[in-house]
Symmetry: C2
Subunit: 359 residues, 2 copies
């Protein structure tokens, strides 16, 4: 594959895309960002081969990725399209697709193919510092081409994107926007609403435990960015707000009438549905067996632990420090990629005086 | 301290409590569970010193912890109180407190002190397999004593509970129930409602990414257990459902009228409030500096990594496998407990040919 890619906007998404593409032979990645410090960091971590002005980058590119905030994407698309070569693909990574498709639709007159894109992956870490070459691994990446986009063009973009490990799903921009209203925008609005109910209630805030923090994690997203996203999709979102309100009224009646069986059924079917949702695995080496061990607190203990297992040829697919207390040690969860390794791993750690058991 | 503790119900909470208390000199822990396999596991991992029938355990105990599902706690409290010695403390770990306090209130006639308890800690891992001696570390643990409980008795229970690393907060049972309605029960109901809106929408389910999974994680809780909890607190919960409904209507108006500044303000204040919430740290060694490194995929690599850092006297406070791909290696986040260690850690890893940078 021989392809020149321009990435405009080197934030979390642009940077992560770059980290994968620079690893792929035959792909040349030029990046640009309005912040020179970001460009420098992108070069340093290998997210781009070179940096340059965005008109120059776009003029030379076979594929242009617009990875800026949603508000600037439409304007940028129009500007960039003026310098792009015929046959070039312009795509974006914005969270809603109908508005940008209005701009993309017109580009085909000049032989430029605008294809909407939305990688369904994110991270609490914003910006280039959060960039991760596996960010898209196993994530869904939606493409919303116009009907007149040749299959060959769509395939060209898809094959580049598949290098990131993403699953490509092609759908209509309008359908996309309706669906993300329910799986992304409504949950965001609700999370912020749940937090807002604690305003001024200091005692309640002190009680907010892990469950509350999980439920409202998305409410820590950037307010300006999210206000733009939510407003850009306001009609489908309002429709979802109405649906949720109706559902809450049904639940209120169930509570007031103490219909326990109905409540169990409702919670049960939500749980079943949730557990059937595609979980994004961390990679292609899922851990199949968890091991818990208690370790003393001293520098290098994680290394020691790893080398005890390494000596026996046992691979750690995943490792997580559950808790640690200074001077007293910690609890560590180790995910093994082979179930057979479980007993040998426990035996090896016990032999070294480390308390360990299989979960 | 010389104290005999009985733990009735060796699930996640009872088991975790046991794991801490058995480590404390002078405390003798007797546990019981309706499932003999659970009792055996509790003995094996050191969550109890011995197991026994619950009447026998309670009759000998200075403090009885009732750690069974909320539905059985009231009956159990009445039964157990018949055999307890005068001066004994009975406490529970249920999620709502007004109903159990009606039972506890009557015990003082016989010189037994019933004190409601609610540890605000949990885990996705249920049962004794999820038990962790640091589960309560830095978590809030609410106690709801009756007004006539002597301070000395309350102090006795608090000092035992502080061994778990929990922060003890004393409040009225009615206040507690109103507060948990907003920080726990409403978020649970809403998470289940959000999931239920995806019923029958296969395409939407395919798009449900990390954010949706986080927001709805609590909806994977046990349906019977949660139906009991929600119904046991239905009046405060219905009140919260009304408050949320009202807030959603305000937000709907903001969206329909495209009041961008108001939406940004709302999201901003929710974010600020959420970030001010007490985060449960993993322990007393918070990591202050994150390091990212790319490692090759081979057995023992985590050990090698740990030993490179250990050699330099650098302690790993936290470690997380961000992503891993077979044959290609992975991305690992390492949390360091001293900021000063950052540059030396990067240098050491780079010197060994491992790509690393500070976040």
């Amino acid at each position: 594959m021989n392809c020149r890619v321009a990435i405009i906007g080197l934030g979390l998404i642009g940077g992560s895309l770059g980290l994968t593409l620079t690893q792929s032979p035959g792909i040349e990645v030029v990046g640009c960002d309005s912040d020179p410090a970001v460009e420098e960091k992108a070069l340093a971590i290998g997210a781009v081969h070179q940096v340059g002005g965005y008109f120059e980058a776009a003029a030379e590119a076979d594929i242009v990725f617009l990875c800026t905030p949603i508000k600037t994407i439409e304007r940028l698309a129009r500007e960039v399209a003026r310098v792009c070569r015929s046959g070039c693909i312009i795509t974006d990574v914005g969270s809603t697709k109908q508005a940008i498709m209005k701009v993309f639709r017109r580009l085909s007159e000049n032989g430029i193919w605008g294809i909407g894109g939305h990688p369904m992956a994110g991270s609490e870490q914003q910006g280039i510092s959060g960039a991760d070459r596996y960010l898209f691994e196993n994530a869904v990446y939606v493409l919303t081409p116009e009907g007149n986009t040749p299959q060959e063009v769509l395939d060209r973009l898809s094959s580049i994107l598949r290098l990131t490990g993403a699953h490509i799903i092609v759908m209509d921009a309008g359908v996309h926007d309706r669906l993300v209203a329910s799986v992304s925008h409504l949950p965001h609005l609700v999370a912020a609403a749940l937090v807002s109910l604690l305003q001024g209630q200091e005692e309640a805030q002190a009680l907010a435990a892990g469950g509350f923090r999980d439920t409202t994690r998305v409410a820590s997203g950037d307010p300006r960015l999210w206000a733009e996203i939510l407003l850009s999709n306001r009609l489908p979102l309002v429709d979802q707000v109405d649906k949720l309100t109706k559902r809450l009224q049904e639940l209120k009646a169930i509570l007031e009438e103490e219909r326990q069986a109905d409540l169990v059924d409702f919670l049960q079917s939500s749980r079943t549905l949730r557990e059937s949702l595609p979980a994004k695995r961390k990679g292609l080496v899922p851990s199949v067996q968890d091991l818990i061990c208690l370790v003393p607190d001293r520098p290098g203990i994680i290394g020691v632990l790893g080398s005890y297992l390494g000596e026996k040829g046992i691979n750690i697919a995943d490792i997580e420090v559950l808790r640690v207390r200074e001077g007293d040690g910690g609890t560590i969860r180790i995910g093994l990629s082979r179930e057979d390794d479980g007993p040998a791993a426990v035996e090896s750690l016990l032999a070294h005086g480390i308390k360990a058991w299989l979960k």
